[in-house]
Symmetry: C2
Subunit: 406 residues, 2 copies
């Protein structure tokens, strides 16, 4: 008995049979006595197909029009899911992101949700309807269609849950939950039963693809508990919620890795105030997320700055850095796509020493060179050569996370 | 130098190459110094594909959700066309029907446009942009997505032109204009250079598919001149406009035929007031358009009523008539899909006698039996056996419309 928001991804609504399955699952939850809002993504590969189509028209599709095009994907899903639910004898009504009151800023293709004006959804729920909402999209106050970053349907679901003060947001996915490492790499990785927002946030930023970082951020801000679970089974997945005391008993919650990273190094940077600002202000203005930044110690008044971005952003970032680099008198700029980031995450680190040393030790034992290091209160990340990724993840996982770990 | 609304149908935007062609044509008009709004349909067969998809989910898709699904078709077209125009160096912005301010009533899948709140379009035009609008769709005042009847993009274009007080509405199609008969049936049919709203309205209702009746109705009400022309050539097509005096010189403007008709006959109907009302009130309530109604003279206090509907509506209409027929004590109900309607249209008929007799004579000479007759001030229609259609059209056309016609 509660108000539940469920989110189903693109693979769950890829074809009519799968949509009917989702409908059955949704109806089961409804029949258990819950009010229910369902957020869905575009079917299967449709978003990629639409992007391809746009590039058959032009090499530089305007972002605003791309959003108009892409938004048709989820709109297809909501209509079909509502039909499938009605066909099974329940009352459902679909809303696009704009209709559902999902208000975003105006940065097309990477819009951020400002708030959800959920009155319309509430009205339909009070009439006993199952409400279906298009994920990944919203509208500006000026009524333009926007889409969020890729994977933004998770964020839509959490934002809708926050707007409705829902009891829980269930994210259905093709894995059983959040694991101590990617099970495809580490075969004895274990499912985590509960994890704090902060840990999940770091993991999402560091390559764990099960949940989108922005969604976790939003959930943390509005204290929306998230249940990450499999759409193919009934077993409980992973609860992502506010930190509770016993969570600190575990020093390292998980090992993550991210091969979709590239490194840009800028050499001969004048060692004076304002230089880093000029570089990263320009990169940020282009809506490119910078992950790790390391500034080496300078000599002769010159320093070296390295930072990582996702591979998809490398070309744009490099162009910007080359432009800014000329202005600031950098001597050399080098890009490297063949890197990966391996990280350990855990709020227990706050109160434990020696975690970094233990991680470096695990990599050293495998003879893996560390190119960059970055730490926060609850994570340690190392940039390494991409080809060493799997060995590194396994070594670190067995050092920290196996039952018999030291 | 003016404000022009252009409408391109589904075949014109069926693939990227065709969309680029439309973009070139649009830009040419813009560069001639005009302000320009372009209304487009869904690409090619997409509407049919989406309908198929819905029926893979359910046998009875709710009309509201069908509209959400179908509206994605034109939304795809507007985004791609705007991209193509931008790619060719002009500034374009797309709007869905709801965004463009096309307000309809709430009858899903057969919505009627109430008005167009064109402020937003006007604002973009004043900034020099080419505005692209999705045809066939709008929204209710309550913000639900609606679609018009099939072919409704013509109506969207005319309604937008009316809302903007545009100088002209150009409907681009795959034929050169409006002909004196279907050129595929009558090889010496001639293009009509100008025609009155009333004639075009009758022709559209009577099977001339080049323009949608509702669009002509709307154009007449708001006095929007329509130019029907080919998207593959530069030659002028047919102007549809207010009746002017010299139009009356032509007695018969064209011969139309419609095979997509079915006949329902109800026998043994009590010959008393209110019976026709009960039948057609029920049929009308189901949003089924009735074309021709003929009530035969009764005997023994019983009459026979026959009427025609489009073949697509036959099943629904028949169900209703069988239900109502039981209530009113009809003795027999017969449906016949193998009929066609052949008509002559012309405002000159108002002031000429003998047109009907001449038409019946043409059919008699070909030994074609007439099943039903219906006349108005400017048209005469005959229902005949479907297999006689082509012969009937040719006979009537040569009687009235060839240069050497009697």
């Amino acid at each position: 008995m509660g108000l539940i928001v469920q989110k189903y991804g693109g693979t769950s609504v890829a074809d009519p049979e799968k949509i009917k399955n989702v409908a059955r699952r949704v109806i089961k939850t409804k029949e258990e006595g819950n009010d229910l809002v369902v957020v869905v993504s575009a079917p299967g590969d449709m978003t990629d197909e639409l992007i391809d189509l746009a590039y058959q028209i032009t090499d530089s599709p305007p972002a605003r029009e791309m959003d108009v095009l892409l938004a048709t994907g989820e709109q297809r899903s909501i209509a079909l899911l509502a039909m499938a639910i009605c066909d099974q004898g329940h009352n459902a009504i679909s809303f696009t992101g704009p209709q559902a009151g999902i208000i975003t800023n105006g940065i097309h293709r990477k819009a951020r949700i400002k708030n959800v004006q959920a009155e319309r959804i509430t009205r339909e729920l009070s009439e006993g309807k199952i409400v279906i909402v298009a994920g990944f999209q919203g509208s500006t106050e000026d009524n333009a269609i926007t889409t969020l970053s890729r994977g933004g349907s998770d964020t839509s679901a959490v934002a809708v849950a926050a707007g409705l003060r829902a009891d829980i947001c269930e994210i259905y996915t093709d894995v059983e939950g959040v694991y101590t490492a990617d099970p495809r790499v580490v075969h004895d990785a274990r499912k985590i039963s509960s994890i704090s927002y902060d840990e999940m946030l770091e993991m999402a930023s560091l390559g764990a693809r099960v949940l989108h970082a922005r969604a976790v951020e939003y959930a943390k801000r509005f204290d929306v508990p998230i249940h990450v679970r499999s759409s193919f089974s009934e077993s409980p997945g992973t609860m992502v919620a506010k930190e509770v005391e016993d969570m600190e008993g575990v020093v390292v919650r998980s090992v993550t890795h991210d091969k979709d990273q590239a490194k840009i190094s800028i050499f001969g940077v004048p060692d004076r105030p304002g230089i880093a600002y000029r570089i990263f202000q320009a990169v940020g203005a282009a809506e490119i997320n910078v992950d790790m930044i390391v500034q080496g110690v300078g000599k002769d008044g010159r320093a070296a700055i390295s930072f990582t971005v996702s591979e998809a952003d490398l070309r744009d970032a490099l162009e910007i850095v080359q432009r800014v680099g000329k202005d600031i008198g950098a001597t050399d700029i080098i890009a490297d796509e063949n890197i990966a980031m391996v990280s350990v995450v855990g709020i227990g680190m706050k109160s434990h020493c020696g975690v970094a040393a233990k991680m470096f030790g695990a990599l050293a034992e495998e003879d893996i060179n560390i190119q960059m290091i970055s730490t926060s209160e609850i994570k340690i990340s190392c940039v390494i050569d991409e080809k060493d990724t799997e060995r590194a993840v396994r070594a670190v996982h067995s050092k920290f996370l196996l039952p018999n770990a030291e």
